[in-house]
């Protein structure tokens, strides 16, 4: 089949404005990943096309992009998910809300700054036992969803509240905080909740659900944010 691939491009060294480049690709397979199409352009047509990618199967979180207007991983969306019939158009642009550096590559530093601000690490001040700390299957299940996060930024950069105000920590950081707040072994929930109860914390979430739709790991992001909001008032999530 044939695909018209439109890519939002920007070369910081050329002194030009961003523009749409178009590539007509023939012999596309319906099961090709969008990443395969981008690679085809980069490897066989124009090596200057720039993007991040690594694992190519939805695990490393490198290649979140805005594909036909929706945030997804380029390696986890197939042509057949986007095009019906023998011809179609696919548009790829960088994720929104972070400064574009070159083509599909954005500056991830603000995203990781927000991540680091919520103490995204396990804290337990007691001396560890000689074997594992015990945790019931029910306790473990309470924070399972958040452990799937691959920090691809698809959620945060789909969030209108984040677009409007980049100082909002954003859904990914809240998911990371949730993962520790609801871990029965962790002892720093109150510090994290203090951060998230501030002006740029969880309350900037307006439950728009873009984050949940965007998550390539199918994490119920909006629900986790709601649970964090509840925890600020001392509520526990239902097991």
């Amino acid at each position: 089949m044939e695909v018209l691939l439109r890519v939002r491009r920007f070369d910081p060294e050329a002194g030009q404005k961003p523009y749409w480049a178009e590539y007509t690709l023939k012999d596309v397979h319906r099961t090709d990943r969008v990443l395969d199409l981008l690679h085809h352009v980069k490897w066989y047509i124009d090596g200057t096309l720039s993007l991040r990618r690594s694992c190519a199967h939805g695990i490393c979180g490198s290649d979140a992009m805005r594909i036909n207007g929706i945030n997804r991983l380029a390696c986890k969306v197939l042509v057949k998910d986007l095009v019906r019939g023998e011809r179609g158009k696919i548009e790829v642009a960088p994720i929104l809300g972070l400064p574009v550096i070159k083509d599909l590559i954005v500056d991830m530093e603000p995203f990781f700054d927000h991540y680091r601000s919520v103490m995204p690490y396990f804290v337990n001040h007691e001396e560890a036992p000689s074997t594992e700390r015990l945790q019931s299957q029910e306790e473990r299940a309470l924070f399972d969803e958040g452990t799937k996060c691959i920090l691809c930024a698809a959620c945060t950069t789909s969030c209108p509240s984040f677009w409007a105000n980049g100082t909002y920590v954003g859904p990914a950081a809240i998911v990371q905080a949730h993962r520790f707040i609801f871990d029965s072994r962790d002892q720093a929930a109150s510090e994290r909740l203090a951060v998230l109860s501030e002006e740029n914390g969880a309350w900037r979430c307006r439950t728009i659900f873009n984050c949940t739709s965007a998550c390539p790991r199918e994490i119920p992001v909006t629900q986790l944010i709601a649970e964090v909001k509840g925890a600020i008032y001392g509520r526990k999530p239902k097991a």
């Binding site: 060294e13 090596g47 690594s54 490198s62 197939l78 594992e132």
Partner: protein
């Protein structure tokens, strides 16, 4: 050019690099330099589990784990190192749990464990539950946990800095050269202790489970600086990659009861490994799949077989084996969710109701930069230490995996020897001085990068890479023989000549010039491919992952030894050999 100075510089931010950083940073000023953001590292793609004889589910002992590892290695692993691996596995798994790693839990709240290939009770009697896991994203959880703890400990990270050279001064390591990808600027990191933890080079082959970024950079850098590569002929083909895509399907699927079936619907592993069947070592199963396909027993006669984890099939075989355990949809969904997601996304197949089409996929380098058990790089047959240089993880060869790695042991290797590296480097940095940098530490590699940046020949990087991957897949894959390997060597050398004289790079810019860096990575891949094929051609026996049709038997008299392949200044590869450390387990026939 910017110059930085740290006591310890670690290149690579996967499991080995981060574990080393965690320990080194407690006693020394430490930096981690990585071409990716740390959480993109390929440790995150490890699925099924980390092996440790905790005995949470049934009786187990680290000595059994050690025996399985030695047997799995086809007796080529160094048994002193294997003892350390299996013993310290227990400590590090508890340590990971204490650092917050969210393992799955047993009914009584302990770390959950499951069966995995080649892991047995009582020296080969029956499968044992040893693989500690967090669903089928165990590597992801290890990577996340270690990165989180490095943030907590304020480890200094240089993310998206691509290391391209090791600076030597009078034969001593003095630092590394890196390209800051965002600016294209050259940085030199001067350090007392330098550690490579850069992972493998699966991109040498066309069908691989490896990420695009696994191009053997660190190993190639060391190799070019005269450090030998150990046991490069041993590269693991994982039996269950998704057909055509190569994406890994964890052995944990079989650990949970999944069965391999050929085109006739036969559980063919019964014929190849009568005792533990589908849980035999990876090399054994990959060969069995190739043989079934060759005999026309692939699915519909094609070049793949089925892996069936539908509850119906699993329960039928569990019942036939006299086991009381049964599985249902919910259980499979909870234990291998990512596998189900891969199949549903990429194949449109639901493994709950249909079998998965699979074929062997290039997966893991057993060989690499030679080290001792403290991750110090050793450079000759006498294991002479090159002071100040360290390596751990897939890029290194301790050797704990010998000729074939057992499933779960890569993650064990990362954390056990990453930890040892970190401790040793902090200690070294306390006593050692910095080595003087030479006058122009980045001159040589900068000249090569500028050559690549201006390369205006006719051949694209991807064309050369495609040809390399095809020839290595055809001739230096699961089965090998002399003429094919020679052909691969000739092809690789021709490709390298074209790389030198006829390459084309489009991007002349400085900022995020991945076009240039992919060209540089291809140079690493060609080096790794050549040294792999040359080492393989010389070893006239079959052992573990190195299976020769012209020498089908293991030959302990001549070949119970490690290969060392050294690049000579004229470009030739010199082969030498060093003995294997044999302690408790004398080599015997390997039957599963």
């Amino acid at each position: 050019m910017q110059i930085h100075q740290f006591d310890v510089v670690i290149i690579g931010a996967g499991g080995a690099g981060l574990m080393a950083a965690l320990y080194a940073s407690r006693g020394a000023n430490t930096a981690v330099v990585s071409k990716l953001y740390p959480t993109r590292s390929h440790t995150g793609a490890a699925q099924g589990g980390i092996g440790a004889a905790l005995g949470n589910e049934e009786e187990d002992h680290w000595e059994w784990h050690a025996f399985d590892t030695v047997k799995g290695s086809d007796y080529l692993a160094d048994q002193d190192a294997v003892d350390i691996l299996a013993r310290e596995a227990v400590e590090v798994v508890y340590e990971l749990e204490h650092l917050g790693l969210p393992f799955d839990r047993t009914q009584d709240g302990k770390i959950a464990q499951r069966r995995f290939g080649g892991h047995t009770a009582n020296f080969g009697e029956r499968p044992v539950r040893r693989a500690c896991h967090a669903a089928d994203r165990t590597g992801h959880m290890i990577l996340q946990t270690l990165y989180q703890q490095c943030i907590k400990n304020r480890v200094r990270f240089f993310d998206e800095f691509h290391v391209v050279d090791l600076v030597m001064s009078d034969g001593r390591p003095a630092g590394v050269v890196a390209v800051e990808i965002r600016s294209g600027e050259i940085h030199v990191f001067r350090a007392k202790a330098i550690m490579f933890a850069t992972g493998g080079w699966g991109k040498v082959w066309s069908i691989t489970s490896n990420a695009h970024t696994l191009t053997g950079d660190g190993s190639a850098i060391c190799y070019r600086r005269g450090i030998p590569m150990e046991d490069m002929e041993f590269f693991q083909f994982h039996p269950t990659g998704i057909y055509r895509l190569g994406i890994l399907i964890t052995e944990g699927v079989r650990g949970e009861g999944g069965i391999l079936l050929n085109g006739l619907g036969e559980r063919f592993m019964e014929r190849y490994a009568p005792t533990i069947k589908d849980l035999a070592s990876r090399d054994v199963i990959s060969r069995a799949i190739y043989l079934e396909i060759r005999e026309g027993r692939g699915i519909n006669g094609k070049d793949y077989v089925h892996l069936d984890v539908t509850p119906e099939t699993v329960n039928r075989y569990l019942a036939a084996a006299g086991e009381t355990r049964r599985v249902d949809r919910e259980y499979i969904e909870s234990k291998v969710p990512d596998i189900l997601d891969f199949c549903r996304t990429y194949l449109g197949i639901d493994p709950i109701t249909e079998p998965m089409p699979i074929q062997p996929t290039a997966h893991y380098a057993m060989g690499g930069i030679p080290t001792n058990v403290d991750a110090e790089v050793v450079i000759d047959e006498q294991n002479t230490v090159l002071a100040g240089l360290y390596a751990a993880g897939e890029c290194a060869c301790v050797s704990v995996h010998g000729a074939n790695r057992l499933g779960t042991n890569s993650l064990v290797d990362l954390v056990v020897f990453g930890r040892r590296a970190g401790i040793k480097m902090a200690d070294f940095a306390r006593h050692a001085d910095f080595v003087e940098l030479p006058d122009d530490p980045s001159g040589e590699v900068t000249a090569e990068l500028e050559r690549l940046r201006r390369a205006d020949g006719r051949t694209r990087v991807a064309e050369l890479r495609d040809e390399m991957q095809k020839t290595m897949m055809d001739h230096v894959g699961v089965f090998r023989e002399a003429s094919g390997m020679q052909q691969a060597i000739d092809t690789i050398r021709t490709l390298r000549e074209r790389y030198r004289t006829d390459l084309r790079v489009d991007d002349r810019g400085r900022i995020f010039n991945h076009d240039l860096l992919e060209a540089w990575e291809l140079g690493c891949l060609l080096d790794m491919a050549e040294v792999t094929a040359v080492s393989a051609l010389a070893r006239t026996e079959s052992r573990g992952g190195h299976a020769r049709e012209d020498y089908p038997k293991r030959d302990d008299d001549q070949w119970l030894r490690h290969t060392l392949a050294t690049l000579k200044p004229n470009g030739d590869i010199a082969l030498s050999y060093k003995p294997v450390v044999i302690l408790k387990y004398q080599p015997k026939e390997r039957v599963y």
